[in-house]
Symmetry: C2
Subunit: 187 residues, 2 copies
Amino acid sequence: MTPTEPEKKQRSYATAITVAALLLVVLLTCVPYLVSIALAEGPVQGNAADASPIFGVTIPAGYKQWELIAPAEEAAPLDELRAVVGNQTAIEAYQAGKLPFPDGTILVKRAWKRKQSPEFASATIPGAATTVQVMVKDSRKYASTGGWGFGRFVNSKPVDEAQHRTCFACHDARAKSRDYVFTRLAP
Amino acid sequence: MTPTEPEKKQRSYATAITVAALLLVVLLTCVPYLVSIALAEGPVQGNAADASPIFGVTIPAGYKQWELIAPAEEAAPLDELRAVVGNQTAIEAYQAGKLPFPDGTILVKRAWKRKQSPEFASATIPGAATTVQVMVKDSRKYASTGGWGFGRFVNSKPVDEAQHRTCFACHDARAKSRDYVFTRLAP
């Protein structure tokens, strides 16, 4: 039976509602994921003044929320407490126990001056923050330094080029067999 | 004009599609959030053998992914490295700088034996895990211990009641003015 005008209108009304509802579903489910992915990981695409010399590494957004890989203590003269955290790519690589770390791995070492705990003579706790140091794996971009880019930051600003020239040599000398990464996953 | 039979069918078809689509939207947006809330926070409702004596505190699911509050070092005889992490309620309270911590705050202190770094004579790193210690804020349930329940775990099992009788007295003696919590947020 040929549809009448009112029936055609009803049908296109139903179709329009359905399409609109499906679009809304897609929007509500996909956009939050895309936004969280965009915000959660990766170096901040900030201005060049925030990026490390030589490597162009920046402090990744949200790194303070990243999962802990391990704490550490450094004796005098630095006298620091450290905590190394990693992004999801890093954590998954550590848990899989596989080397090398995949491209996209980001490790951040937070460091503080060690100070005496006011409550316990036997304990030391973090004092002032000293450095935030970042390693980013990109085997093409950083091929000449084992696939890693480095950034050392004090008060959120990158330190000078001379200091950045020292990073890789030390990692190469002492951790080459572990893909240039010192930190082991705390059990 | 009185709607005809086909028009009534079209209208109810359109209505059914709209309602179904709206239900789908609600489902797709609400259920993931509810599931993530249910999974992300709070003590595991496991069996009684996993819960601490006196307080009934359990090791919270997913605590290893929680945000770091601060590392710490403990000298001999314990000779440990520690990392205190907190759930979202804890983190927000720390960032707001307000005491007391609200009900629902959970703090977890992870601890490892300190061992010499193989690469750096000046550094110590985590060896074997020693304890996982949990504080849960519930001002009604734990009114007699400053609002806090305590759990100390070795290899995921709670230690004995005698040890749990010692927890609050020390927190009361040395940290009462800070809502019985020693750990300060690392800057």
